[in-house]
Every structure is written in structure tokens, then in C-alpha cells.
């Protein structure tokens, strides 16, 4: 059986020392191994930005696409080969700014895959501009007098869009994060996991210490029921979105692939493409 080491490669990430993304990469590798996958069975599709490089740092099939489009590419991969485990990953700019349209609709579509957002509340690779996740008043190169736009609450949005698996974690809590990614992979449908991943270079406000002080961890509330969408929404609002753990899961809704009529169990990529002459004649009949 594969271990997390099998998912490692020899590429040295170009992330800054101390970046939260390192732990997220490790958690994905551990979760994949814990799910009993082999590297060939995993496809990691990522967007653009510091975090977008992650698909190149994991020994698995990987595609590093264009900014904001990791989700449509990943959904295409999953529809083509439903036997693959597909993880899409990218930053908060990638998923909640340029790619927000895709995020909402990927949630609605509910294809069986996992989306791990590496949320540092800032644009890192372009050297420090505001992101939709930046707090109001947050001073960056693009908001020298502080951001005057409201902060996006991605998981509240996810819940309203009909998400079937909503979780959040913190890159320092690798145990919780690994477990959540595992759960996400096992979940039938689309799982979104937002991960606070401090940017040690450009974000001097939302630091490791800041998160440690402010996060409310659902693991410390054993009575919390993640099947209740109203409670999930309330809890998110109460904590200003600084809630970690499994926030919501709907185990009843079936995935998109399992609802498509005629969509076969065998991956499409493995099916025979040739038509028989009889099938072709049947296709022509409607044009006579």
C-alpha cells in the first residue's frame, strides 16, 4: 500500500520559508495515502498563484492551468475518468476573485471531487495586493488607505449555493486538515475545504498567532451537528467565519455523475468510441 512518501517528489517548492502552503501539501499527501490511493489514481488540478504550484509538488497526475479555472478543468477530468480521485486546489484570489463564478457553479453541480483552497487573504505571487478575503481596512499595495470592500465569506456562500460538504481548517492543524481532506475525498459529491494558510511575507495581520487566538475549532464542540444547514450558517456568522472543522455535510444528495442519465460506471475515457453501421443508420433516421 502506498504511503504519504509515495506522493512526494523531489521538487523544492518555491514558497517562502514558513508559508502555510507546505502543511497543506503534506496534508493532501497524507490524506491520499490514508484513502488507500496510489499516485496514478490521483489528479491534482491547480490554478495560478503561489498556491497554484502545488500540483507540481505532489507525485501524482497534475495539471497547473490558468488563473481561476482550476475547477472547470478538474470537473472535466472527473467526468472523463470517474475512477480518478480529483483534487482541485488554488488560492483565495484564484477561487474567490477571478474564479468565483466557477466556484459557485461547481458547488451547485456537485461533481464528486475535492476543492482545497489555500486562503492567505492576500495576493502573494504578485507581491501583496488585496484579495476578496482581505479584511475591511486592510492595507496593501493596491489599498494603501485600507480596503473599502467588504470581506467575502466563502463558506456562507457555499452553503447558500447548495454545498454538500463544507469544511475549514488551519494549516498549523495538520491532523484536523488531513482528516478533513480524507473525509472530503470520501464524500460523494463536491467538497470544499477552505484552509487558513498564513502568508508570512505580505500579510502581517492574519498571522499564525492571530489565527491561533481567533479560531473557533468545532472539534471542541462534540455536540455540533454538521448535518444541520441552518446551524452551520449561524455558527459561521457567529464566528465571523473563523470556524474550523467539518461545518456541514449532506450525505443524501447524490453526486452529479450519479444523476446523469445514461452515464456509465466505466470511465468514459476507457469506452470504445467506434459506432457500428447500425448505430450510424439509426442516427441518420431522424434526418429523413
Amino acid at each position: 500500500m502506498a504511503t504519504f512518501k509515495d506522493f512526494r517528489n523531489n521538487v523544492k517548492p518555491n514558497w517562502c520559508p514558513g508559508c502555510g502552503d507546505f502543511s497543506i501539501q503534506a496534508a493532501i499527501q497524507r490524506a491520499a495515502a490514508n484513502c488507500g490511493l496510489t499516485p496514478e489514481e490521483l489528479a491534482v488540478i491547480s490554478g495560478i498563484g503561489c498556491s497554484g504550484r502545488i500540483s507540481g509538488y505532489i507525485h501524482a497526475y497534475g495539471l497547473h492551468g490558468i488563473h481561476g479555472r482550476a475547477l472547470p478543468i478538474a470537473q472535466g477530468v472527473k467526468l472523463a475518468n470517474r475512477d480518478l480521485t480529483v483534487i482541485a486546489s488554488g488560492g483565495d484570489g484564484d477561487g474567490f476573485a477571478i474564479g468565483m463564478g466557477h466556484t459557485i457553479h461547481a458547488i451547485r453541480r456537485n461533481i464528486n471531487m475535492t476543492y482545497v483552497v489555500m486562503d492567505n487573504q492576500i495576493y502573494g505571487l504578485t507581491k501583496g495586493q488585496t484579495s476578496p478575503r482581505s479584511a475591511e481596512g486592510f492595507v496593501t499595495k493596491s489599498t494603501p488607505k485600507g480596503s473599502i470592500e467588504s470581506t467575502l465569506s466563502p463558506l456562507e456562500l457555499a452553503l447558500s449555493a447548495g454545498a454538500t460538504f463544507v469544511a475549514q481548517s488551519f494549516s498549523s492543524d495538520i491532523k484536523q486538515l488531513t482528516a478533513l481532506i480524507e473525509e472530503g475525498i470520501k464524500h460523494e459529491g463536491f467538497s470544499i475545504i477552505n484552509v487558513f494558510s498564513p502568508c508570512v511575507t505580505f500579510n502581517k495581520v492574519n498571522t499564525y498567532e492571530w489565527f491561533k487566538e481567533n479560531i473557533v475549532n468545532l472539534d471542541t464542540f462534540p455536540e455540533y451537528d454538521p448535518s444541520n444547514r441552518i446551524h452551520a450558517m449561524t455558527k459561521l456568522m457567529e464566528t465571523g467565519g473563523l470556524l474550523t472543522g467539518l461545518i456541514y455535510q449532506d450525505k443524501n444528495r447524490r453526486s452529479y455523475e450519479n444523476q446523469i442519465s445514461g452515464f456509465r460506471e466505466t470511465p468514459l475515457a476507457e469506452q470504445d468510441l467506434a459506432l457500428s453501421e447500425e448505430q450510424f443508420d439509426q442516427l441518420l433516421a431522424e434526418f429523413k
Binding site: 496514478e40 479555472r69 457553479h105
Partner: protein, 584 residues
């Protein structure tokens, strides 16, 4: 007896023009006539003048005609807007209800039939299209039983009572007009057709059918005129073959989802028109850079911006070729007939996988939506060539990556699919090395660019141009693409009557431009006239750029939203030839 005629029905959108046209043309198809249809419609659902024109012939036809023989009018506006097309002695069948009038100075026969009154007498004014079409069918002296069978098929699912009523409406319309005219009109009698039923479809159907035959099993697309029928066709057919269509949130998702599933091994297409194509550009660049096959259909319509969404234009040529930033190899195929829409779609998928490049299949609104007779489609010409797909990758040591972008003689590298053993590699839109790992090495960059762009050096495309070239040194060489071919041929007949010799080239491979194939024809012609539906002579520009001889290249352009008529091309070509004679 005549060998062809043109029939048109006009009214308000939503008034049954479409269904009447459908029944009328289905019946004609059953009799074996060749048909070519044109839809004039607006970007709205109800209201607004709309008309459908069908050209009917005992011989193959590929264009609409200048004139019109019969006009069926549901309102006065339809007469006012279309009567000028009627030939001398032409006929208008109109509803008595609006007291129709025809222009006095024209030689037009008006048959005023109480269309609405008869329909209402039979129970509902909805049936007025059946009364009207029955009347016009009867004037042609065509067998009513064939028409009734088409009516049965249209209304069969609504039950026998509805069918019976509609058949009665047809009969009443026919009886009324025959009494008025004293029997079928002698000068409207069509020679019998060969009786062999043809395939009858729109270009978008042929593309959808081609896609299924090519093994396309997924489509991701966003609705847009005039491309949506491709999606609608595949929504109907793909589930029968285990596949599906995803209606995406936008065209960016459409193209990137298609790239994702092609990467994972499924032939996937998307289809759109100009606005969608613009949104897809970055994605097309990703496909080019990552050498991922993908097929994109662009059904051109009037631009720019929202432009004329329901009208004819061929103005995306430069956008398709130059739209993507940076430099990638891509192939653009331009079918010019309904049959080619089918075969070229299959070839688009094969070329895309063989050269691992994005392929754009480009049509225009008239080719995509004009319903027309189609020659039998040959099952034996359906060939699926998936290019260099590796079945079993050799074992690799120490997690060494599969060299997905290996430098090879022709630049095309063996391809493995996600899920395969020993095939792990990286894919990125960042410049990369042979295993797909990002690389900024200047040496690698140059080699990779040359590899990708060089793939098309060995490109082999069947018939990059279609030549009708009887003459060694013609007076005029007319060059066009897409739906204009049939109209050009009709104009050529008129030019030949005037003693001008003409050759005709259709550009089928728009990019890379088949300069070597086109050049000899250009060199030997006295005049070269490029006919295209845009304002800036984009096709002529390509010709000048790649072939030269700008001094003898002229353009005939039309960008008012309507397709060319033979007379327009004829007159302008004649004008160009005369003008140059004067100069000499």
C-alpha cells in the same frame, strides 16, 4: 414544367412560420427534391417579422436564389418586406383577414384565402398555418397525400383528433385556392424529382452527428445563437453512448472543462459564436501550450460585441487566428457544405489528437442554421485516429516522470492519460521541460517553442482547398469560404454567360494558410476576387499576406447581416472586371 422554384413564408415570430416550413420541406424531401433553406429571424421569441425561404430543385443546390416564386403571407408586413423578391408572374397567398394588397406596378398574382376564418371554423386560429401551407402546396400541383403524411408526423404525438383536424385544414386551404385559381398553376409545376429521399438537416446537426461519429462523448458549452443546436443535438444523442453535455456557467468554463476532459482522455468539444470565442481565448492558449487536444466550433454571426446575433457574417477570421496571446500552433478548418460539416468535424477531432493542438471548426450562421439536402453520408469514411496515445508506459525508476513533452522528430510527443501506470508527468501552462516541469532555461524555451510550433510543419490535411478550376488562365478567380460557395457558383454561371471565364477556390484550411496550394491559381488568374461576409476583407488580407499579388486582388464584401445573393456577387465581379479594363 420547371426544374426549380423558391417558396417563402412570412409572418410574426411565434406565428407558426417555423412549423409550416418544417412540414412543407419534409414533404418535399419525401418526394426527393433538393432543398436549401434560409431563416430570417430576430433576436426575440415572439413578435417581429420573420420569414423562411426554401429553394426547391430537382438538381443539387447550395444557395438561396435572388428571386421568389411563391410568398405565403400571414400579414401585410410580410408582403411589403418581401414582394420585391417575387419574379414577374409570382404568386402571393395571403389571409383575406387583413385585406392584403400587392404593389400595383408589379406583375404579381394575389390569392386571397380566408386563412384565419377557415382555421377558426375548424376550431382554432392556430391551424391557419396548415390552411396556408395546404393552399400553397396545392398551387404547385404536388400530391396531397405526401403532405398529409408530413402533417401526421408533426402532430401525431398530439393524438389522431388533432391530426385529423390539421389534415382537414390543409384540404380546405387547398380546395379554396384551387377553385380560385382554376386548378394548379401550370407555370409552377415542378418536374418530378428522383423520388429518393435525401438527408435533410442544418449544419449544426451535421456537426453534432459528426461529433458522435468521431467518438466525442462529452461536450461542455454555454447557449448562444447560432451554435446552440449543436449542444441540443448532443444532449439528445450522447446519453445513448454513455456520455453527456454539461451546460457550463460561461464559455471560459466550457473551454477549460473540455480541455480537462480531453487531457483525461475523452474526446470533448465545445461550440460557440464570436462572443464566446473571445472569452475562450486564454483557454485555447492553455490547450496550445500544454499540447492538449480540444475541438472548438465557432459558428460566426454578426459582430462586434453582441452585433447582429441572428444574422450572417464571417468576421471572426482574424480573431480565430490571432486572438490568443503568445504563439501557439492551432488548426482552423472551415467546412463549406452540409456534408463537410459532418466529415470535417470528424477530421477536426483526429487532427486535434494527432497533432495535440486546439482545432477550431468554423462555420457561419447560414451554414449552421440553413436547412438543406445532404448527400448520403458514408459510414466508411468515419475513421478515428487518436494519434500517439501510449497504451502501456514502460516502468520508470525512482518516481522519474514520463516525458510527456519529449522532443521528437515531428514535435509530437507520446501521450499518456491520467490513471495510467508509469505515466505520471506534469502539465502546466508555464514553459516547461520534457517532463512538464516548469523551466525558465533559455535553451529549453527555444527548443520547446520550436517543437510546439513545428508540429504543424508536418501537417497533412485532406483538401486544404477545394478547387473548381476548369480554366488554365481564367479571367476571374473567385475565392471564398463557408456558406458562400453555392452563391458564388451561381454568380459564376451569370459571369460565364457574359463570356468571362471563372475558377473558384474554397479555402477549407483557414490556418495554417495553404499558401502553396492557393498560389498557382492566383498566379494564373487575371483577376482575383475574394468574396466574404465582413467589412475589413479579412480573408483577402490572409491571401495578400501569404500569397502576395495584392495588385490583382479585389474584394466583394457584405456586412449588412444578410447572406450574398448571386446577383450581388455577379454585379460586383462584373464591375471589378470592367473597371480594370477601362484602366488598361
Amino acid at each position: 414544367m420547371i426544374n426549380q422554384l423558391s417558396w417563402k413564408i412570412g409572418g410574426q415570430q411565434g406565428e407558426g412560420v417555423e412549423s409550416t416550413d418544417r412540414i412543407f420541406s419534409t414533404a418535399l424531401n419525401r418526394l426527393g427534391y433538393y432543398l436549401y433553406g434560409y431563416r430570417h429571424f430576430s433576436s426575440r421569441i415572439k413578435g417581429g417579422h420573420t420569414n423562411n425561404k426554401i429553394r426547391i430543385s430537382i438538381d443539387p443546390i447550395r444557395s438561396i436564389s435572388d428571386d421568389l416564386d411563391i410568398l405565403v403571407a400571414f400579414d401585410q408586413e410580410s408582403i411589403d418586406l418581401n414582394a420585391h423578391e417575387l419574379r414577374p408572374g409570382g404568386v402571393v397567398v395571403a389571409d383575406t383577414k387583413f385585406t392584403p394588397t400587392v404593389p400595383e406596378d408589379c406583375d404579381i398574382r394575389l390569392f386571397s384565402v380566408p386563412i384565419t376564418a377557415i382555421a377558426e371554423e375548424l376550431g382554432t386560429s392556430l391551424m391557419k398555418n396548415m390552411v396556408a401551407s395546404g393552399a400553397s402546396w396545392a398551387l404547385l400541383g404536388l400530391p396531397l397525400d405526401v403532405f398529409n403524411r408530413a402533417v401526421e408526423e408533426e402532430f401525431g404525438r398530439k393524438g389522431p383528433a388533432v391530426v385529423e383536424k390539421n389534415v382537414e385544414a390543409v384540404k380546405r386551404g387547398a380546395d379554396y385556392v384551387l377553385e380560385l385559381a382554376g386548378g394548379p398553376l401550370d407555370d409552377f409545376k415542378l418536374l418530378p424529382a428522383d423520388g429518393k429521399q435525401k438527408l435533410f438537416m442544418i449544419g449544426n446537426d451535421a456537426i453534432g452527428l459528426g461529433a458522435v461519429a468521431a467518438g466525442c462523448r462529452l461536450m461542455s458549452a454555454y447557449p448562444i445563437t447560432p451554435a446552440s443546436e449543436i449542444m441540443e443535438y448532443l444532449i439528445k444523442q450522447l446519453p445513448k453512448f454513455g456520455g453527456t453535455v454539461v451546460q457550463t456557467e460561461d464559455e471560459i468554463a466550457a473551454v477549460t472543462m473540455a480541455i480537462g476532459s480531453n487531457y483525461a482522455g475523452v474526446r470533448t468539444m465545445t461550440a460557440s459564436a464570436g462572443p464566446g470565442l473571445s472569452l475562450m481565448m486564454e483557454g485555447i492558449g492553455l490547450a496550445g501550450m500544454t499540447e492538449t487536444p480540444v475541438v472548438i466550433v465557432d459558428t460566426q454571426r454578426g459582430g462586434p460585441s453582441t452585433g447582429l446575433p441572428t444574422k450572417q457574417e464571417q468576421s471572426d477570421i482574424n480573431a480565430m487566428i490571432h486572438g490568443t496571446h503568445g504563439e501557439i500552433p492551432k488548426i482552423i478548418l472551415a467546412p463549406s457544405s452540409i456534408e463537410e460539416c459532418f466529415y470535417d468535424t470528424i477530421e477536426a477531432f483526429n487532427l486535434s489528437e494527432k497533432y495535440q493542438v486546439p482545432v477550431i471548426l468554423v462555420t457561419d450562421l447560414q451554414l449552421s442554421l440553413g436547412k438543406q439536402s445532404c448527400e448520403p453520408l458514408d459510414f466508411n469514411r468515419i475513421v478515428i485516429d487518436r494519434g500517439s496515445l501510449v497504451q502501456e508506459a514502460p516502468e520508470r525508476e525512482d518516481k522519474a516522470l514520463f516525458p510527456r513533452y519529449a522532443f521528437t522528430e515531428n514535435g509530437v510527443s507520446p501521450r499518456v492519460l491520467p490513471g495510467q501506470k508509469n505515466g505520471i508527468h506534469h502539465v502546466t501552462g508555464v514553459e516547461h521541460d520534457e517532463t512538464g516541469r516548469p523551466s525558465e532555461s533559455a535553451e529549453n524555451r527555444k527548443k520547446m517553442m520550436d517543437k510546439r510550433l513545428g508540429k504543424l510543419d508536418s501537417l497533412v490535411v485532406r483538401d486544404p482547398i477545394l478547387a473548381q478550376a476548369l480554366y488554365e488562365t481564367p479571367d476571374v478567380l473567385i475565392i471564398g469560404m463557408g456558406s458562400t460557395g453555392g452563391t458564388i457558383d451561381q454568380a459564376r454561371e451569370l459571369l460565364e454567360n457574359d463570356g468571362l471565364t471563372t475558377n473558384h477556390l474554397t479555402i477549407r484550411l483557414l490556418h495554417p494558410f495553404p499558401a502553396d496550394e492557393v498560389r498557382p491559381y492566383v498566379e494564373k488568374a487575371r483577376h482575383v476576387i475574394v468574396v466574404e461576409n465582413n467589412a475589413t476583407a479579412q480573408l483577402a488580407g490572409l491571401l495578400k499576406l501569404h500569397v502576395g499579388h495584392a495588385e490583382k486582388i479585389s474584394s466583394v464584401l457584405k456586412y449588412d447581416g444578410n447572406p450574398f445573393l448571386p446577383s450581388i456577387i455577379y454585379n460586383e465581379c462584373k464591375h471589378i472586371c470592367t473597371l480594370s479594363k477601362e484602366l488598361v
